[in-house]
Symmetry: C2
Subunit: 102 residues, 2 copies
């Protein structure tokens, strides 16, 4: 499947981030056309040396890169992307790629 | 599911990286006890501004964080982790976390 992978770095206020993410961002993102599955990290995000600088990892799954690109280009996709500025004040890395099982 | 997420940054020699990854690293990683699914990016890894600095994204899935930790702590897990030094010369970010569907 094709994935949108989002690594949200530690925000200034984790409680406010989590509240906005759950109550505003998830409902917006779930409206993106072509979205097949959506999961987020729960609990801490670890690294080999201990806790990481990442607060939350989100993965949105689409059937293909074409569906992913169409979804992000839609008004719903733009609304979800535009919402990042409202809560992701620690920064966020976004990656887009297709995958295959190995 | 619990995930090991690996972001491999651009290596010095992409062809050599890809050859080692396919012929050595995947077989090693697939031996990790408790591994339920393993996918890798295919084609380029994009970012909002264009191509990203990431060469390959790998995700290894386990039933739980306990299974993930036991898998990484096993001799097979240590062998796979130890192999990174043999090919990931651009660096790699590793993250460990549980997930939930939203």
């Amino acid at each position: 499947m094709a994935k949108v992978l989002v690594l949200y770095k530690k925000p200034k206020n984790a409680e406010a981030f989590d509240k906005h993410y759950a109550s505003v961002h998830i409902p917006l993102a779930k409206k993106i056309p072509g979205l097949k599955k959506y999961d987020i990290s729960t609990g801490g995000v670890g690294a080999p040396t201990g806790p990481s600088e990442v607060h939350l990892v989100a993965t949105l799954y689409f059937d293909s890169m074409e569906a992913l690109q169409a979804g992000l280009a839609s008004s719903e996709g733009k609304a979800a992307a535009g919402d990042l500025a409202n809560f992701a004040d620690g920064g966020a890395e976004l990656y887009f790629f297709d995958t295959k099982d190995v």
